[in-house]
């Protein structure tokens, strides 16, 4: 299978309050259509690794390649453009723009990318909302939705530009068990039906166990790497 993401010998240091190596020689390869969970105890560096993989953190040693493009050493603006096109995010705390409607929230990354016309973007956004079963809330302000609904909007937003990878930082960390199952099933369907690659940092043992591959980290190293 095709590699969608690869790191080579990634090291990362924190300098505050004193120099400390958070990530040690991370070599990771993710294949297209894979549903990967990144697990480990608090402070093991899994979130730090994910921010590097997501290109938001560019202060590291080593190399990062996504969708065949080498991203190490690129400028912030180029990385922002890259994220816009190739990476979708789902966070623990939903992070929607509360003054905008659900539909607008989903459309914004696509409007930024400008690959399609506004009309096409809107119909694509509605389509994504339908897939996630929340099209009836399209015209509501996103701040008025429940946590589970908001998280589904966030997933729709992550999908809008047909990204190569969806990255989730504790995507179910703030949801009740019903919604956790719902989000998990959506992820599952995305990977199996649409061959969408997903990397999720999680504490949830069940969530991790049911994903395709679990990468476990400890003290800045990958210790289990099936």
């Amino acid at each position: 299978m095709e590699n969608v993401l690869a790191t080579h010998n990634v090291n990362k240091y924190f300098y505050e309050p004193e120099k400390f190596q958070v990530l040690k020689e991370i070599d990771l390869i993710v294949r297209r259509g894979e549903f990967l969970s990144l697990v480990g105890k608090s402070g093991c560096g899994k979130s730090t690794l994910m921010y590097i993989l997501s290109t938001m953190d560019s202060d590291y040693e080593g190399e990062l390649e996504i969708a065949g493009e080498r991203l190490t050493g690129k400028g912030q603006d180029a990385l922002a453009r890259f994220r816009n096109q190739h990476i979708g995010f789902v966070f623990q705390f939903h992070y929607l723009l509360p003054e905008f409607t659900v539909l607008q929230n989903v459309m914004i990354p696509a409007l930024k990318l400008r690959k399609y016309s506004r009309g096409e973007i809107e119909s694509r956004a509605i389509e994504k909302l339908k897939v996630l079963g929340i099209e009836e809330y399209a015209k509501k302000l996103s701040g008025k939705l429940s946590g589970g609904q908001q998280q589904r909007v966030a997933i729709a937003r992550a999908l809008i530009n047909d990204p190569d990878i969806i990255m989730g930082d504790e995507p179910t960390g703030n949801l009740d068990s019903y919604n956790t199952h719902l989000v998990f099933d959506i992820f599952r369907e995305l990977t199996h039906t649409y061959r969408q690659t997903i990397i999720a940092v999680t504490h949830d043992v069940e969530f991790a166990r049911n994903s395709d591959r679990v990468v476990e980290m400890s003290d800045g190293k990958i210790i289990r790497h099936p």
């Binding site: 979130s47 921010y51 997501s54 938001m56 953190d57 912030q76 603006d77 922002a80 453009r81 890259f82 994220r83 816009n84 096109q85 995010f89 966070f91 623990q92 705390f93 992070y95 929607l96 723009l97 509360p98 003054e99 905008f100 607008q104 914004i108 990354p109 409007l111 930024k112 990318l113 937003r157 930082d169």
Partner: protein, 415 residues
Amino acid sequence: MYLTFEIAKTHLLAKPKQTIVAMMGVTFGIGMFIALISLMTGLNDFTESLTMTSSPDIHIFNDVTQTRPTILSEVNPHGINLVYHQKPKNETPKLRNASEIVQLIRQDPRVLGAAPMLASQVFYNYGPVQLNGNILGVEIMEEDKLFDLRSKMKSGRIEELLTNHSGIIMGTGLARKLNARLGDRVVITTPQGYTLTLKIVGTFQMGLGAIDNVRSYANISTAQSILQKAPGYITDINVKLKDLHQARFIAGELQKSFRYKAEDWETANSTFLTGNKIRNIITYSVSITLLVVAGFGIYNILNMTIHNKMKDIAILKATGFSGNDVRQIFMIQSLVIGLVGSLAGLLIGFGLSVLISRASFPGGDFISLDHFPVQFNPRFYLIGIVFGVSTTAIAGYMPSRKAAGVDPIEILRGQ
């Protein structure tokens, strides 16, 4: 660009109260600026035009009080001479060769007109009461060229003076005091004690009590006979220039070539003009203060907005907005606040100016003025909007830059 504009719009509309308060700061600043500067320049123009009606661009006269070298220093040029309380020489204030000087000045291409004149103190008799005043002997057509006398006539026509040797054109204030009307005869007493009867062929109003209450115009020959002087007796020459701002320079030239004192209007009215300068300084400093205060208001509100929107900024950056896009979003907000606030300020400023120009302002006897003079100059409105928008741009720039520099990881991790 369109997207950032849309996001900025949503932010502004999401908190209308806050947006309006920020706009009101600018509106108030610009409105006050417009009202103040319109009134102040209106006042300045008014005093300047008063100045111009009461004094010529250049006034040439024989300054008999000018200090002159003593006879002693001519006789004993190398010694130490002390002369206390030197008195002026006994000479008339007559300008020699006045008509030739006038001809020469008129040939100068920078000069619009030159009018010879002589003035005499007289008493106007009103029954047993004598009113102090003066009569100016002038070439009335030339005087009209210099001071636009025609537009200041309240009754009669200036041409009547040409055909009437004993006619005078009297100030309205003086005529009122004498209870005299057009066509009436008034008796005057000359400084030498002679009495003369003159006929009022017109009345004028300059708008300045100091002139209207004491002055009459007569022909030069009439004034010469009042003073019992020979024809050719001229004491003053008034000059009008094409460009009045050259007055100081040309006055110096004239003084050198004719050896009579030539005084320019700026020197003659320096107190008036100092007032103008001070008013301008006050206007601009008050307006700038108002705008700076408004600018701080915008700075604060944007800073607060950005602080509240840290999460939004982080998510925008995570989903592919560059620092530049984020800066644009907040710059657009401050510019919209600035632009809309300034436009509203221009309207309010215009409204205030109209109200002020309609407020009655009794000028009393001294100045004929019943309303505040207000100038409606489009330039002020242009300055106002440029000023308002640039202040908000500066005030918005710093918080926007801060927003552009937000590190999304710090925010996303912090939760």
